[in-house]
Subunit: 146 residues, 2 copies
């Protein structure tokens, strides 16, 4: 089971499973996020989508993103005080925010890292999400990611 969302076929299924419609707007937004995995912001997604579907509105992009996040097809990444970014990598992973370039890199984690981190919580705390984010600078092209 690859936890990275793969295709628009998956999209249609996931949407209808949630009682939602696989509309052209949702498809193109999803496609754009899959295409270039650089953690784009809503605005960047808007620009990219417009070239394929010039009539789409920014509000729709926000709507679609909300829907995709809700269905678990896309993850939302909030780093420091900056526009929210979107990420189709559904693996448990951390993010590295490069202060120099502003780019966001995925950092894959050993299988049980998040599980271990959860154990650090005192009793009484029940986390449904764990976010691990680094900030700093990355060598120009650390491992070919973007």
């Amino acid at each position: 089971m690859n936890s990275t969302a793969k295709s628009c076929a998956a999209l249609a299924k996931q949407l209808t499973d949630s009682g939602l419609r696989p509309t052209p707007q949702r498809e193109v937004v999803f496609k754009v996020i899959l295409e270039k995995r650089d953690h784009p912001t809503a605005d960047e997604i808007y620009v990219r989508v417009k070239s394929q579907m010039p009539t789409i509105s920014l509000a729709t992009v926000y709507n679609c993103l909300e829907t995709l996040v809700h269905c678990g097809l896309v993850r939302q990444v909030n780093l420091e005080r900056a526009p929210t970014r979107y990420c189709p990598n559904l693996h448990e992973h951390a993010h590295f925010h490069d202060d120099t370039t502003g780019q966001v890199h995925d950092i894959e984690l050993p299988a049980d890292t998040i599980k271990e981190l959860r154990k650090l919580l005192p009793i009484g705390f029940d986390a449904n999400t764990v976010e691990l984010a680094f900030r700093g600078r990355a060598a120009s092209d650390p491992h070919g990611s973007n």
Copy 2:
């Protein structure tokens, strides 16, 4: 060495060390953050400060906060898409954001947790900050913190 900022005396020193002036505004903002450690937002700080110094402006509160963060007297906490919060606990610690109440709790971490997390970074990545945040719900008063 207690890494939690303790007093306004410490403030004055830290500021002058950085070539900045220990102004009344900076002092009162700092005092308010120390007083009630509930991770207040800039706006909440503004309200609290105004009762002691009614002429202060919101912009000044933002300025002072920026200064305090710069001097390392206060930490900035950004959780999901919400107003930035401020925290005088300078220990390495994580945050737990309670979805139900909106409250933020400090989670103290074993001494080397952050160091271990840093090791997970591929070569070429050099992090100067590591943020670990949980979201979920906490038992009504998990351990008397707020």
